[in-house]
């Protein structure tokens, strides 16, 4: 490892060593523009601290400080990006060493930042979309007395997300991972005077903890086998240091973590409930950034997955299941935000599926992640704008015919809608179509995989077209189904202020053009190549032109079906009973019931029975005797010595067990 030069004191001038081959080991740099890279995290973090510490004193200008910090981080990210773009492609993986974090005996850990095409893609996405959403929130949260605190949390989230993507070790990534969890917890529960919101915040927290356990175990396994947690050591040819079984275990644990964070099957239940938080939060955290962290983790740990084909296959399967699951749920939801959340789940399913396909899929997964970040955030902001104009109504059955009243929202939302459908030349066409094509390429010569997963992605595209069109038509087209406001006055739908519409317009521009711009000449795939490695393009089982034609056919079919049912014909205000599938989809395909049955209840039984074991069985020796020997029981109960005796009996019993065990083992 020629590149692990320590430059801990930061005074040593830049060490420039050329990397001959594409490897996960970056060169170590310091000084120059890269010295300001820590500001990426520092700016939003400092702003969050200031806003929280100053308290009410910062109420009047606090939100603008938040916007400024996020914007500043974007500028720093852009400068770093341009600087890296200057370098030849094989020198674009850089490590900025920040110093020793923990150093004692067996556990030595450095803190550092990994600047490479993958992390910078995320930095730009997070800070750019983040800044737009900050601006939007200035107007959206205008009436909230705690707007300053909201911005502090938003900044905190941006900082944590940047730590997550810039970390150069799994441990530092974990810090960011927990940080975004905490920030999202604070943001979902922001209106914590409403009990359902607080409960939703808790649900998200719990689901994320399950995922965290996966990450912790994965780190434990890595530490046991590699003796380190930094990307450079772990991801540089992991197959040489650990058996395939170990790597499969690590991979599956990483996948569990990704499932918790990215709302993938079977840990998807929290995303819908998390929509209780303010809409800009949904746009930032639950569409563009945090929920995609799982995809980042899988792509980042690509080395581990490539050495563990079984884990990779599980990734693809999870992606495929979630893709269909989210799409089916999306078809039945009447709450506009929950429908969008289901769609997010499904789209991330596409990304996870692509990430499981190996080097061919990584670039497409990230590509789709970026375009999705734009169009989905745009649509969430659009939904927020609709709610803003409709007195916080979220039931799509109470919308309809809104297009003439909020033209900008309508048009920007339409751009996002066309993008997610994958109509050329909108952004989604370029990214999703590539994933479908990649899914149809046989892996390791296994034809069945190409057919199964390819068909699932194709089917998903059709269902996506149906439910997104349903959402769009029910909201903006058809007849008006509004009712009066809560206080009885007339509903007056209106366009949102400029601070809210401009971010939507910018995101809509991205939804239209980003796909085309980035895919010209394989630009984006080439940019990510230093990280993902160059992948030989296999041949799909069907010719590419046929796949495109097929995709467009099912998409159009879905669109037309939705048009006939939700734009032309009357949409009932009260949801009809529907088929059993519809009813199941409305309650998220019974996932809460399943969770309760599989996780919550056995857990509660376990705790109860263990408590029972500790206090009833152990005490029960005395107590049971007491019950049977009438009279003596109540005496024993009143006499406190009975209990001490129980305790002493426990100790003695425990001691005897230990002695027996030790003597048995010895003999």
């Amino acid at each position: 490892m020629h590149t692990l030069t320590s430059v801990a004191d930061g005074l040593v001038p830049a060490v420039t060593l050329a990397t001959e081959t594409v490897s996960p080991v970056g060169e170590t740099v310091s000084g120059g523009i890269f010295a300001v890279a820590p500001l990426l995290v520092g700016l939003p973090l400092a702003s969050a601290a200031i806003l929280l510490l100053l308290g009410r004193r910062a109420d009047r200008w606090g939100h603008w400080l938040g916007v400024l910090a996020s914007g500043g981080a974007f500028v720093v990210g852009l400068l770093t990006f341009l600087r890296i773009l200057d370098r030849p492609a094989d020198e674009r993986v850089l490590d900025v060493h920040l110093g020793t974090w923990i150093d004692a005996g067996a556990f030595h850990l450095d803190a550092g930042m990994r600047l490479d095409p993958l992390s910078l893609t995320f930095v730009l996405l997070v800070t750019f979309v983040g800044t737009l959403i900050h601006v939007y929130s200035v107007a959206y949260m205008d009436h909230d007395a705690d707007r300053r605190r909201f911005f502090a949390y938003l900044n905190l989230f941006v900082a944590a997300m940047l730590v997550l993507v810039l970390a150069d070790s799994f441990l530092l990534l974990f810090v960011g991972w927990e940080g975004v969890g905490l920030a999202s917890y604070l943001l979902i529960g922001f209106w914590n005077h409403h009990m359902p919101y607080a409960v939703a915040a808790k649900k998200a927290f719990v689901a994320n903890r399950i995922g965290d356990v996966g990450l912790l175990i994965a780190m434990g396994l890595m530490f046991a086998h590699f003796g380190a947690l930094d990307f450079a050591t772990v991801l540089d040819d992991p197959g040489a240091h650990a058996s395939e079984g170990t790597l499969t275990a690590i991979g599956l644990m990483l996948l569990l973590a990704a499932c918790g964070k990215s709302a993938q099957f079977p840990l998807q239940s929290w995303l819908g409930d998390a929509m209780a938080g303010p809409t800009p939060v949904s746009a930032l955290i639950h569409a563009a950034t945090m929920v995609t962290a799982g995809v980042y983790l899988i792509v980042r740990s690509g080395g581990v997955f490539e050495a563990a084909p079984t884990a990779q296959l599980v990734v693809v399967i999870i992606g495929a299941i979630t893709l269909l699951f989210g799409a089916i749920v999306g078809c039945a939801k009447d709450d506009i935000k929950k429908a969008l959340a289901a769609s997010t789940m499904s789209q991330i399913g596409y990304m996870v599926l692509a990430a499981g396909l190996g080097p061919i899929g990584y670039a497409f997964a990230i590509f789709h992640l970026v375009t999705h970040g734009f169009f989905k955030a745009g649509m969430f902001l659009g939904a927020g704008s609709v709610m803003h104009g409709m007195d916080d109504q979220v039931d799509m059955r109470r919308f309809g015919g809104l297009a003439p009243y909020m033209k900008i929202t309508w048009i920007t939302f339409m751009m996002g809608w066309l993008a997610i459908l994958g109509i050329p030349p909108f952004a989604g066409f370029f990214s999703k179509d590539k994933i479908i094509e990649a899914a149809f390429i046989p892996t390791d010569g296994a034809q069945w995989r190409a057919w199964v997963f390819g068909t699932v992605t194709l089917l998903g595209a059709g269902i996506t077209a149906f439910y997104m069109s349903r959402l769009f038509f029910m909201t903006f087209e058809g007849e008006r189904r509004w009712t009066t406001k809560k206080d009885g006055s007339e509903q007056h739908p209106h366009e949102s202020p400029a601070l809210m519409t401009w971010p939507m317009i910018i995101l809509a521009v991205g939804s239209v053009g980003l796909g085309l711009v980035l895919s010209l000449g394989g630009r984006f795939v080439g940019w990510l190549e230093p990280v993902t490695g160059h992948a030989e393009h296999g041949e799909p089982v069907l010719p590419a032109w046929l796949l495109i034609a097929l995709t467009l056919t099912v998409v159009i079919a879905g669109l037309v079906l939705a048009w006939r049912r939700y734009a032309v014909s009357t949409v009932p205000v009260v949801p009809p009973l529907g088929t059993s599938l519809t009813r199941a989809a409305r309650v998220d395909l019974y996932q809460d019931a399943v969770n309760d049955a599989v996780l919550v209840e056995p857990g509660q039984h376990l705790t109860r029975s263990l408590v029972y074991a500790d206090h009833a069985v152990v005490d029960g020796g005395v107590k049971g005797l007491a019950h049977s020997t009438v009279g003596l029981g109540s005496l024993l109960r009143r006499a406190q010595t009975g209990y001490v005796r129980t305790y002493a009996a426990t100790m003695l019993g425990g001691l005897l067990v230990l002695l027996v065990v030790v003597l048995v083992v010895q003999s």
């Binding site: 974990f174 919550v600 705790t607 030790v662």
Partner: protein, 575 residues
């Protein structure tokens, strides 16, 4: 026959001697110094002794670091790196605990009965109260206990170990029974602690006897040599070793020797609970480390099964039972049981990384524990009838503030009424839970990675899983403090408020009476709706202690390297 006076290195003993001498002096002060100035004198004496002891540790540090340590009193005491780390940690933590102990809060009352020797409800108690008799024996008792704790991890033979254990235990039994409020509960707890402690001591001394029978010596080094010689493994040795370990495992509250912990933690005066939970654990684990690392390393294969069983049972039971607690002191008690299990995984690792990991963990845990109990001490019940809420004068407080509000439902909404205090408590809970950027995370990471290094990865796995589960009940309190309305606002039925915040609370209500002894249950029944929860302002001392604890928790979490370096520099036992 001539008697040769042993050559005593007084300097190396100074950290212990200062504390014990001040303790003895404190007894004299208690007897002879007039009432009015007694408390300030005791405070200054105790404070000075602890600071002096810390300075003595610092003075000895560089010598020990270069020489590796030395034995004193003909090998009865070993002053080496771990000894100094533990004595320093004990000094600092006792100092922090002292600040909480000494704080009388705005009510002007400390946590201790003015005349602890009087029978509760007796005429003498009445008389003493009317005469204004206030005793301050808590300070010398604290010092004597600390002295014993400082000796315990430094012992070089089994007899000194036993004596040190008794020196630290006896004052603790007394301190446990000295609570100002709920005196019967407190005295019951003291009696239980005493009886069970005596039982454990008996087991330990039995083990000592068996080991003496096997090795013919009480000195650690002699026993280690006898154990290492490849003779047939004697049941005498194995049984003796297990009994010895059990005596120490009792003190750390490891399952199945944990039963006293919740009752005693609940009954003891809250500041003492914090002291006990932090410092006893440090001392006992120090001794356990030394015994396991220097006396029995060659018995590892045989004793591992004991410690593995105990560690797994401790982690799982502590975590699981804590999940359903409704009393904050009992909850912290079970959490401390679980922590004992986590520390044990580091002990089992049996390598140098294990020593420093355990020492760091104990420090991180101790700081958070003292801080957390300091906060519990300030959160009180207040009777609604005696004074209106807006009357904040001292007299009004004195008249209306009752004991600690320990029922979890009373903590609902604390995040809104006292954000700073609740924030500090949340920080300590996060540290207990092992969330990154707190000291607890580094500690957990250190012990688990030491365990993995030492080949005990299944233990580390159980540890990670149970600390993940443990996060639920810590988070539950945070949820309760921040996302639930105060009980008296939402419903007069207090447990209902908890239920809204936590799904497991349904089981709680039924268990309150089952959990712990029946007599305890009647005394700590759910609070009457005539009280509200209030945070009494500290006199300043407890606030300082809580602030320092919070600061240390964060600093050790973010920049652990200097302290880790300091510890791992000297973390080697004298053979």
């Amino acid at each position: 026959m001539t008697f040769t006076a042993p050559d005593i290195a007084w300097g190396a003993l100074s950290p212990v001697l200062i504390v014990l001498a001040a303790g003895v002096l404190g007894v004299l002060v208690e007897a002879f110094v007039p009432d009015r100035v007694r408390r300030p004198v005791q405070l200054v004496l105790t404070f000075g002794a602890l600071v002096g002891s810390i300075i003595a540790v610092a003075a000895l540090w560089s010598g020990v670091r270069s020489s590796g340590g030395r034995d004193v009193l003909e090998g009865s005491l070993l002053v080496d790196g771990p000894t100094l780390v533990l004595q320093g940690a004990l000094g600092v933590l006792t100092l922090l605990a002292l600040l909480v102990v000494a704080d009388r809060t705005a009510t002007g009352e400390d946590a201790f009965a003015p005349s602890a020797a009087s029978v509760p409800g007796s005429e003498y108690e009445d008389l003493a109260r009317r005469k204004g008799i206030t005793q301050t024996e808590v300070y010398p008792l604290l010092l004597l206990a600390t002295g014993g704790m400082m000796i315990l991890p430094a012992t070089g033979d089994l007899l000194t170990l036993f004596v040190a254990l008794e020196v630290l235990s006896l004052p603790l039994y007394l301190l446990t029974g000295m609570a100002r409020r709920r005196r019967l509960l407190s005295q019951e707890a003291a009696l239980k602690y005493f009886l069970l402690g005596a039982f454990a001591s008996a087991l330990l001394i039995f083990g000592v006897a068996l080991l003496y029978g096997y090795a013919g010596s009480l000195r650690y080094s002699d026993i280690a040599a006898a154990v290492a010689t490849p003779s047939a493994l004697d049941p005498l040795l194995l049984v003796g070793a297990v009994l010895l370990l059990v005596g120490l495992l009792f003190k750390v509250g490891a399952v199945p020797f944990h039963a006293w912990t919740p009752d005693v933690y609940q009954g003891a005066p809250t500041p003492i609970t914090g002291f006990m939970a932090a410092c006893t654990k440090i001392a006992a684990f120090g001794a356990l480390l030394r015994v396991y690392y220097t006396v029995f390393p060659s018995l590892q294969w045989d004793l591992d099964v004991v410690l593995w069983t105990v560690a797994i049972a401790t982690m799982v039971l502590g975590t699981v039972v804590a999940l359903v607690q409704t009393d904050v002191k009992r909850l912290l008690a079970y959490s401390s049981i679980a922590h004992a299990g986590f520390v044990l995984t580091g002990v089992i690792a049996l390598d140098d990384a294990g020593i420093s990991a355990v020492l760091f963990y104990l420090l991180a845990y101790g700081v958070a524990t003292i801080g957390a109990f300091g906060i519990v001490w300030l959160v009180r019940e207040r009777s609604v009838s005696a004074a209106s809420d807006d009357d904040e004068s001292d007299e009004a407080l004195r008249a209306s503030v009752l004991g600690e509000a320990t029922h979890l439902s009373q903590w609902a909404g604390l995040g809104r009424t006292s954000p700073v205090l609740a924030g500090a408590f949340a920080l300590f809970l996060l540290s207990f839970a092992g969330i990154p950027l707190t000291a607890g995370f580094i500690g957990k990471f250190a012990v688990f990675s030491a365990a993995v290094e030492g080949g005990a990865w299944p233990l580390a796995l159980v540890g990670v899983l149970s600390s993940a589960a443990a996060a639920f009940f810590y988070v539950r309190i945070i949820v309760l403090m921040y996302f639930t309305s105060p009980a008296h606002e939402s419903a007069p039925d207090a447990p209902g408020a908890v239920e809204a915040g936590a799904p497991t609370a349904g089981a709680d209500v039924a268990l309150t009476t089952d959990d712990g002894a029946g007599a305890v249950a009647t005394l700590v029944a759910a609070p009457a709706p005539t009280t509200t929860t209030t945070v009494v302002p500290s006199e300043g001392l407890a606030a300082v202690a809580i602030g320092v604890c919070a600061l240390v928790t964060v600093v050790l979490g973010v920049f652990p390297t200097p302290v880790l370096d300091l510890i791992s520099d000297v973390a080697r036992f004298l053979p």
